[in-house]
């Protein structure tokens, strides 16, 4: 998946990658779930108790995460599988992990020179909100906040320099 922004991406430093992350997320939800994400109008933050993470290593080192409420993760699974919400079972973690994997892959494919020089780890999914993620990074995380069917999802990229 390529976009017009790809050509510009190599010229900007990682502090300016937030719009590319947002495009990458929007494309994944559009193509794989048939959903258009919207921008939250309030700063309200529900408890985001499911987190999927994918590590990046190589030319770019860091962690990309997708956080959301359990009901948002279940709804994503429902849409990905094309089944009713009440038929969704233990595959929720797998589905959110795959969403995170596709966002990470789609994002790195938009950065010229990064696509072939950056490897992705298999996704890790954490359930629960009482944890602190410490990453060996010296810069603040890039964060994108969007609504999926009215439910907040937060996508973060922590870059190790």
């Amino acid at each position: 998946m390529k976009s017009a922004s790809e050509l510009l991406a190599a010229k900007v430093s990682h502090e300016n990658w937030t719009p590319l992350i947002e495009v990458a997320v929007r494309e994944v939800f559009d193509l794989m779930l048939g959903c258009e994400l919207t921008v939250p109008s309030t700063a309200e933050e529900p408890t985001l108790d499911v987190t999927a993470m994918v590590g990046l290593a190589g030319k770019l080192c860091g962690v990309l995460s997708v956080r959301c409420e359990g009901k948002a993760a279940a709804l994503m699974t429902s849409k990905m599988l094309g089944v009713a919400l009440d038929q969704v079972g233990p595959e929720v973690a797998d589905a959110l992990g795959e969403v995170c994997n596709m966002v990470a892959g789609n994002f790195k494919n938009k950065i010229a020179g990064l696509s072939e020089g950056c490897m992705l780890s298999p996704p890790t999914v954490i359930t629960g909100s009482d944890y602190t993620l410490r990453s060996q990074t010296d810069s603040p995380a890039l964060e994108v906040r969007l609504l999926f069917e009215g439910l907040l999802i937060v996508i973060s990229l922590q870059v190790h320099s």
Partner: protein, 127 residues
């Protein structure tokens, strides 16, 4: 034409999405085998013949490129077309996959239409 497909991906959700996309493409799937990595896929191919393989690249145990390099030596997989479905989107990955024997390459995220566009010509021997 009835098709027996092998879908190789470490995500069970993605395997189901690929299967659904094949059916939406109008492909008559008589049997669908699934494997979570290349090593599991080799076990499937010891027992079963297939007509089409769809395979991820990044998987634990045995990745997709290592797996498809072994296919010419497997009786049930000789001349079976392989289409990669992966988040790896660089031209280098595409070239590497094609040089390893893949006949098609689909980047994730994808639409059912893209699966159709890439798989139908491969099945028809046009790719």
């Amino acid at each position: 034409m009835p098709i027996r497909a092998l879908i190789v991906d470490d995500s069970s959700v993605m395997r189901k999405i690929v299967e659904r996309s094949l059916r939406q493409a109008g492909i008559d799937l008589t049997e669908v085998f699934q494997a979570g990595n290349g090593a599991e896929a080799l076990v499937v191919l010891k027992e079963s013949a297939v007509d089409l393989i769809l395979c991820d690249i990044n998987m634990p145990v045995m990745d997709g490129l290592e797996f498809i390099k072994l296919l010419p030596g497997i009786e049930n997989a000789k001349n079976v077309p392989v289409v990669m479905i992966t988040t790896e989107g660089s031209e280098a990955h595409v070239v590497q996959a094609l040089s390893c024997g893949a006949r098609g390459y689909i980047r994730k995220p994808f639409t059912p239409e893209q699966v159709k566009e890439h798989v139908i010509p491969v099945l028809a021997g046009k790719s």
